[in-house]
């Protein structure tokens, strides 16, 4: 079983209605691995995450989780199977407290709190500010604090695979560092992390492997530390730009 990746895509195509955004994506991730997905705006990174997670229609065999075909399974069923997502823009539940936002995840998690690796207590130890603000409405928190809630919410689903969509977007460098320091702790539990990130340097540092996307295709893949910067630049912008 160990050579079966926990999550993989197979010739995944998809998009929004008539607009095709992804053209045959093959990628995979193993348990405990951190894989970065980099690429320019509009390369299809977020679309790929949404397609994997059942938020956009894809063929059944295009997504495999623990060896089973799960493409097109609705997102709430994906959570039960063991995938969770930190969506772009955080998407927290406005009008509810920090605690209530976390409770939603606990209510619907793959495993009850206490049986999975993550508990609120554990997360409050990682993000002490959240313990302090647990009874406050979510809209009273700063952007960085909200991102911590979003990550905590996803982790309380007790996922085997965590999909992170642009978790550094719009945050101060100090806060970004704070949040990225948590990632090794998450993978230490065997949780696989797919990291969509625009900041190439950050993505390389935080990941074991990376995939670079351009116009809905994967243009480069390899061990993050082994890939030379100019190869990434060529894959990121397309060959014609790299020459110029």
């Amino acid at each position: 079983m160990s050579d079966t990746p926990i999550l993989s895509t197979h010739g995944l195509t998809g998009g929004y209605g008539d607009f095709q955004a992804l053209f045959g994506i093959d990628m995979h991730i193993d348990a405990g691995e951190v894989v970065a997905l980099i690429g320019a705006n509009g390369a299809g990174k977020s679309t790929l995450l949404k397609s994997i997670f059942g938020l956009l229609p894809v063929g059944r065999d295009m997504v495999k989780f623990e060896g089973n075909s799960v493409g097109g399974t609705p997102a709430h069923m994906m959570v039960r199977r063991g995938i969770a997502m930190v969506p772009e823009g955080r998407r927290l539940f406005v009008g509810m407290t920090v605690e209530e936002n976390l409770r939603i995840a606990i209510d619907n998690a793959r495993l009850p709190e206490g049986e999975g690796p993550w508990t609120r207590e554990h997360l409050f130890d990682l993000f002490p500010i959240l313990r302090e603000k647990r009874r406050q409405p979510i809209e009273d928190l700063s952007g960085g604090q909200q991102q911590m809630v979003a990550i905590s919410r996803a982790l309380l689903c007790q996922p085997k695979v965590l999909l992170c969509d642009e978790i550094s977007l719009g945050l101060a460098p100090k806060v970004i560092r704070e949040i990225y320091e948590i990632l090794p702790e998450i993978s230490a539990f065997g949780t696989a992390i797919v990291l969509v990130e625009q900041d190439v340097g950050l993505a390389r540092e935080a990941s074991n492997r990376l995939y670079c996307m351009l116009e809905g295709r994967i243009t480069l893949t390899g061990i993050s530390n082994d890939i030379p910067r100019d190869a990434i630049a060529a894959a990121y912008f397309g060959a014609s730009h790299a020459v110029a």
């Binding site: 938020l55 709430h76 998407r91 539940f93 995840a105 919410r153 689903c157």
Partner: protein, 286 residues
């Protein structure tokens, strides 16, 4: 004393309106689904109750036990097979779908029950009253008001503290993010509408006990429910209760000024609230 009496009668009338409004507070206030057929569904349930009362020897309490489950099933079907297909960020599709349903229901009811007004047979409860000082208070309106209070408190607690309530508030705040967190929005919406229409089932029996109903009465109930929710503030169950009280008292006072002014007075107070505090009395501060 005349005005105190008007206020008391208004509060009692408000108890009836609160029962109309609670389902609306859940569907429109929380889920942001505009259900134009809200009043017609209630009238349908009232007419079913009237017809059943002739066949079943249950008495009025027994009637509630039969009608509420029917209402719950109707609500679940309504959400599962109609509203879940049109629900989304845009309120217009649900408005159009339920507008069509409203017209269809009214004609269906005319076909079955004709345009006659009907009510449940007079019972002891409906005619009993007691006296406080020089003011007479009907027993049935008091029961209606207490029921409304219990329903409001219960619904508020369910929304605040239950797993279902949290899931519903999450789905209403951001349907896609709720799904990402493991909530099945369609299932939870179907349960919510079942609860909303179930409450309407209770209101339907009380309405038919209290006064008469006919197939075309639905639009008035719809307006009262809308006004109560908006006066009270979207998303607040106690707000809808308070809005119903405001509406009831305004109508009762208007009625004392001139018997033709009652309903108009209610609408005027609604307009006054819209003009001065459009977010509603109990709206949360942003």
């Amino acid at each position: 004393m005349q005005w105190l009496d008007a206020v008391i009668q208004g509060v009692l009338l408000g108890g009836m309106y609160a029962q109309y409004a609670l389902g609306m507070a859940l569907m429109f206030g929380v889920m942001r689904i505009v259900n134009i057929a809200h009043g017609d569904v209630m009238i349908l349930l009232s007419l079913i109750a009237v017809s059943l009362a002739g066949v079943l020897p249950f008495g009025n309490l027994g009637l509630i036990v039969v009608i509420v489950p029917i209402a719950v099933v109707i609500g679940w079907i309504l959400q599962k097979f109609i509203l879940n297909k049109v629900v989304g960020a845009d309120p217009l599709p649900s408005l159009i779908a339920t507008f069509g349903l409203s017209i269809a229901l009214q004609n269906f009811m005319l076909e079955i029950w004709s345009a006659d007004t009907r009510s449940l047979p007079n019972s002891d409860i409906a005619s009993a009253s007691f006296q406080i000082g020089s003011i007479y208070v009907g027993l049935l309106p008091v029961i209606v008001l207490i029921t409304a209070l219990v329903l409001t408190g219960g619904l508020d607690a369910v929304l605040r503290f239950s797993r279902f309530g949290r899931g519903l508030r999450a789905a209403a705040a951001d349907t896609e993010a709720a799904a990402m967190t493991g909530v099945d929005p369609k299932r939870i919406y179907a349960i919510a509408t079942a609860i909303a229409v179930g409450i309407l089932g209770l209101a339907a029996v009380f309405a038919a006990l209290r006064a008469t109903v006919s197939p075309s009465d639905g639009s008035a109930q719809l307006i009262y429910a809308f006004e109560a929710v908006i006066i009270g503030g979207m998303g607040s169950v106690w707000g809808a209760f308070l809005g119903a009280m405001v509406l009831g008292v305004a109508q009762a006072i208007g009625l004392r000024i001139d018997p033709g002014l009652g309903i108009l007075f209610g609408h005027l107070v609604f307009l006054a609230v819209l003009a001065t505090r459009p977010e509603g009395i109990m709206a949360r501060k942003k």
